[in-house]
């Protein structure tokens, strides 16, 4: 099946061919990725959709350098993780990648602002400027001072998710991977968050890969990749671009 999508905007940021990944061994082995081919251009917001268990989280983990692939080719921002050692990969993630995890994974003991500031702090920023910068971003996702100083436990699911999103953006990464970023948001805040991401993706050399089940936000996608059983089944242009299928299957 030909799944290569039409080039979107800038030069290629992510390019994968025949990527496979198997969890476990023997009888317990689960083949999560069965040969993924995917190309994403800079300035692009790609949405990854598909049934539960089809390998979406696994794929973005490979793209983000959190998980080793078993076989295939994959370059991300001109880097191949398999050619880098652990510390190099970690440094690469620190400088280039923002995350929104499926469960938001905020640290319970830290305030919303501190949680969102973590990528800056890991990057070695001083506490005060880091928190100031974080506050600006949290404001754009609708946080007031009081909410910024609340602990995750005192925030609603949607608010926590917005903190996680602010955390993924705060250090201006080139690639952001999001696992279900709007699952806990009502449609209004979902739109707000997606507009923010859309805005972000427009910036120079930025790439967003967003996993979602949420039909309401598909309209923000440049392209939509449909996943099925460990493969990309088809890729089509999103509503943002002309509603013309990029490729024929």
């Amino acid at each position: 099946m030909e799944t290569h999508a039409e080039p979107a905007t800038g030069p290629t940021a992510i390019s994968c061919h025949g990527v496979t990944k198997t969890y476990g061994v023997g009888n317990a082995a689960v083949q999560a990725l069965r040969g993924v081919d995917l190309a994403v251009r800079t300035g692009e917001l790609l949405m990854l959709v598909g049934p539960s268990g089809c390998g979406k989280t696994t794929l973005i983990s490979v793209l983000a350098g959190l998980l080793h692939r078993d076989a295939g080719e994959c370059t991300v921002l001109a880097h191949d993780y398999e050619k880098m050692d652990g510390p190099e990969t970690t440094r690469f993630r620190k400088e280039n990648i923002g995350f929104v995890f499926q469960s938001f994974d905020l640290i319970p003991a830290l305030t919303a602002a501190e949680n969102a500031a973590i990528p800056l702090l890991i990057g070695g920023a001083k506490r005060r400027p880091a928190l100031d910068k974080t506050r600006t971003i949290l404001k754009t996702v609708g946080f007031d001072e009081r909410m910024m100083n609340s602990l995750p436990a005192d925030l609603s699911g949607g608010q926590q998710q917005r903190v996680a999103i602010a955390r993924s953006l705060v250090h201006n990464p080139k690639l952001i991977v999001c696992d279900e970023p709007t699952s806990a948001l009502d449609s209004q805040s979902g739109r707000m968050v997606m507009e923010l991401m859309r805005e972000f993706a427009r910036g120079q050399d930025r790439v967003l890969v967003v996993v979602t089940h949420d039909d309401r936000i598909l309209e923000f996608a440049d392209r939509i990749a449909w996943m099925e059983d460990g493969r990309i089944a088809k890729v089509e242009n999103g509503p943002v671009r002309a509603k013309v299928p990029a490729t024929q299957s």
């Binding site: 983990s61 983000a64 959190l66 993630r93 469960s103 640290i107 003991a109 830290l110 890991i122």
Partner: protein, 397 residues
Amino acid sequence: MILIALKMLLGDRTKYVGLLFGITFTSFLVTFAASYFGGMMTRSFALIADNPGTDVWVMDPAVVAIDRPINLPTSALSRVRSVEGVRSAVPLAVAQADARFPNGHFQSFQVIGVDDATLTGVPLMKAGATADVLRASGAVIVDGGGTSGKMETPSLVSDQWPSGQPHLDVPTRPLIVGDELLIDDTRVQVAGESMALPRFPPRPLLFTTYSTAERILLPERRRLTFVLATAAPDVDARALAARIEKATHLRARSSADFKEDTVRWMIVNSEDVGDAVTMLSIAMLVGFGVTGVMMFMFTSDNLKYYAVLSAMGASTRLLLTMILAQAALCALIGTGLGLGLCAVAGRLFTMYDFPYRMMWFAPTVGGAAVVLVSVGAAAFSMRPVLKMQPASFLTGR
């Protein structure tokens, strides 16, 4: 990020309190054990410490500790006196004797017979009395020696020296000046009470003159236990001891060396010390266990967040620094609390006359043990952090 690490630690109240408790408990136990040990050791050489004026102790060559005396021939005294550099030398008799109280009760005493002329070796006395009270015939000075309630005599005169059977259950009061005791059926009279350093093991003491000691103790060919020598001006105690050894073929030790010998002997041979050490090691293991498990649980529970941090680019080194900072904070506060607690307990302990002496090594050992445990436990709990693949914690499985 260190601040973040500490916030993570403080944010988890239950575990933080558990961790502090474990560390406080451990540092308390270790310090207390060491101080208790210090106290016991100090008391084990109390007889030496009670004689600060003595420079050199001379004894049978087979004596290894103050508690294991072997008597000398009387001639030893004059032999020591004739050694050059000895300013003075006096005899000291140390023996064990059972004293009979007026109600018929027996109590074992350590009898210390001091030089008749100089009365060297009698500690400070209560009520401003002086050792001169021993000059009366049959006079003795009694001392609890770290015990309590062992020197009780009947309150009522009618209960004293009853004819017929002993009156063991009659009401009693502590000995006072003028009370009488029988030692080997020889009557002695309490002439005063001294404030000797408490002994380890504790035992009541009975000071008397050398000649009285010879009279009341069972006859033995050799009564002399130690010769206490002082050095002439400008003569070093250790050098003098060596000279005495050479001239007399007896064993001679400076006070400081003899204390050390005694401590070493106690550590190796005393069952009490062994028991105490065993008990306290068990208690310490418990403290170590609590601390270790708590630290481990804390890191394990936070593994997911360390994975998140790692995903976001925190290096292994940064994660380790964070965990060590957490361990260090706990260790610091815990040690402080433990030492404070130890000081309070020590006060109570000494108030009730138990052996307790916080010497320099006690807090040092306590602190070192705590740091060791905290860092060890942290290091152990860090292993999964080092091994983890950040993704494996993120897929929710």
